[in-house]
């Protein structure tokens, strides 16, 4: 698979927890461990949004975290992709009627790829990243 021009380097990923239950967090870290080893494709977790190409957002975005999620979004340089990991970021999931939700995530920031599951399996997360790359390629070829 050829990788788009804008992101023809390794994809670096930054993870934001916007009020998640930890289930998706540990699956994201499990994805990065030797069993799945996505680092051979250059996919790795970085410590600051300023170095990132992809933002992974978990959790349904609580009111207290909304401003921080927005700040991370604006700190990430373009071109960037936003991936939502887990059911609660997509629709609110089991927390859909809560009084503290400012989300789901696509009410707060624009989202490119949704990875469903509660929590999604590591294979699903890797598939999500591949889908994101394909999407970027399509956008590139239309230009």
């Amino acid at each position: 698979m050829s990788i788009s021009k804008t992101l023809n380097k390794s994809l670096w990923v930054y993870h934001v927890n916007s009020g998640s239950c930890n289930g998706c967090e540990i699956e994201i870290v499990a994805t990065l461990t030797p069993r799945y080893d996505p680092e051979r494709f250059g996919i790795k977790l970085v410590g600051t949004p300023r170095h990132a190409d992809v933002i992974l957002i978990t959790g349904p975005v609580t009111k207290k975290m909304k401003e921080k999620v927005l700040r991370v979004y604006h700190q990430t340089p373009d071109p960037k992709l936003v991936m939502v990991i887990g059911a609660c970021g997509i629709s609110g999931g089991p927390f859909y009627e809560s009084y503290t939700l400012a989300g789901p995530v696509d009410d707060v920031v624009p989202v490119d790829v949704y990875v469903p599951g509660c929590p999604p399996r590591p294979e699903a997360i890797i598939f999500g990243v591949v889908t994101a790359l394909k999407k970027l390629e399509e956008i590139q070829s239309k230009k």
Partner: protein, 413 residues
């Protein structure tokens, strides 16, 4: 708890959180730092508040079970088990013996996976990546076993009010025994790697001290408390499920090294010993697994009708991997959803012990001390240092770099 004032002179005020790239949940720390020493600590939790207890008063008990599982993705057995025990007490439902044993096996498997997860994170914070990958590799085996038994990797969906939803059949025993043998071999390896490494010992010995008196005064729970020499464990003190029939004794660090210091190193010892203890408990359960039904009330509609008519209060206690979990529940007649549900998770009791542990320590030790409590919340991501009106930002990488540089200095010196 937190104040918003900023100072431009010594002590320097440092803020960590609430967003952090590695794992875990949002929380905010405010440190006052003089040179390398931490002089004052304050914390501001609450970023992860999702209003679960309020939501529970609008759903029926079987629906709440799935919300309880998602209080924390790591302790999903702990919370669903405690909730089940609370509602069973309130509605006077007796669980069958076999269900109690299956519950115990799942609770102990969860403890193994949670402690290995923690050991990996602790190694990562110390800059010992090889050990991190090694422990997480072992952990994947536990996840496979949990998936084999329950069908899910993380939120297992195994608990039901009045029992469990899936059996552990005799055909599954060889696979479980094989994994248990694996952990026993790997346990010795991990003990060697953690306890014989001189640099790891230098980083963790006498770091983040919490004395026995402080542990008791701050009402800490779980491994945090036991590492300070308090031999308390709900499984030992108030047996529930199958624990009454099994040999369970609270693990304290003096069982391995003949002394208790209450530092980070002791917390590592306690957790490693508890992995071994859990393997032992599961083996005992498999030997004595009684026959019988899995559910007290197998039909969901009958169960819901029974719960609707029931009236009363119930409490549930469970020794989760991080310490005691406590649920309170009140049912009123002619109402499907409970009138009240209160959850006290284990990290809640351990939060304030950070303040004692961190005072007087170095900035480079923040990651490992914060991680040593095994919080459902750890936040070593973004630190703003305000010095003479100028602001510099520390990312988690910077903090980890400082922590690693200290390890390197020790290794060379």
């Amino acid at each position: 708890m937190a104040t918003s004032e900023t100072k431009t002179h010594s002590p320097i005020k440092t803020v960590i959180g609430p967003i952090h790239p590695a794992l875990k949940e949002p929380i905010k720390f405010i440190f006052e730092i003089e040179g390398e020493k931490i002089s004052k600590v304050d914390l501001a939790p609450g970023h992860n508040h999702r209003g679960l207890e309020w939501m529970a008063t609008r759903r029926n008990p079987v629906q709440i079970l799935y919300v309880a599982e998602r209080i924390c993705g790591i302790c999903s057995i702990a919370h669903s088990l405690t909730f089940c025990r609370a509602i069973e007490q309130a509605a006077a439902i007796e669980t069958p013996a076999r269900a109690d044993y299956v519950r115990t096996i799942f609770a102990e498997l969860e403890r193994i996976h949670s402690h290995l997860l923690w050991a990996g994170v602790a190694a990562l914070e110390l800059g010992f990546d090889t050990l991190f990958y090694k422990t997480w590799e072992v952990r994947e085996d536990v996840m496979d076993l949990l998936e084999y038994l329950s069908g899910n990797r993380v939120n297992y969906g195994i608990m039901q009010i009045g029992g469990v939803r899936r059996d552990i059949t005799p055909a599954q025993h060889p696979r479980i025994r094989k994994s248990l043998l694996n952990y026993t071999i790997l346990f010795d390896e991990l003990v060697n790697m953690f306890l014989e490494d001189s640099v790891l010992r230098m980083r963790c010995r006498d770091t983040g001290l919490l004395t026995r008196e402080e542990a008791l005064q701050l009402c800490t729970v779980g491994p945090t408390q036991r590492a300070s020499g308090v031999a308390a464990d709900v499984r030992q003190d108030n047996p529930y499920c199958a624990y009454g029939d099994l040999r369970v004794k609270a693990v304290t660090p003096d069982q391995l090294l003949d002394e208790v210091r209450g530092d980070v190193f002791d917390r590592i010892i306690v957790r490693l010993l508890e992995v071994k203890q859990s393997v032992d408990i599961i083996a005992q359960c498999l030997e004595t697994l009684p026959d019988g039904p899995l559910l007290a009330i197998p039909k969901i509609m009958v169960l819901l009708n029974h719960l609707k008519k029931a009236e009363g209060e119930g409490i549930g206690r469970h020794e989760a991997p991080r310490g005691e979990v406590f649920h309170y529940l009140r049912l009123t007649a002619d109402r499907e959803s409970p009138a009240a549900w209160k959850v006290k998770a284990s990290t809640y009791s351990n939060l304030l012990s950070w303040i004692k542990m961190l005072q007087g320590e170095q900035v480079a030790d923040i990651p490992i001390i914060v991680a040593s409590v095994d919080p459902c919340i750890s936040c070593t991501d973004r630190v703003a240092v305000i010095k003479q009106g100028k602001t510099a930002v520390y990312t988690q990488e910077d903090l980890r770099r400082i922590s690693r540089e200290k390890t390197r200095r020790l290794r060379q010196g």
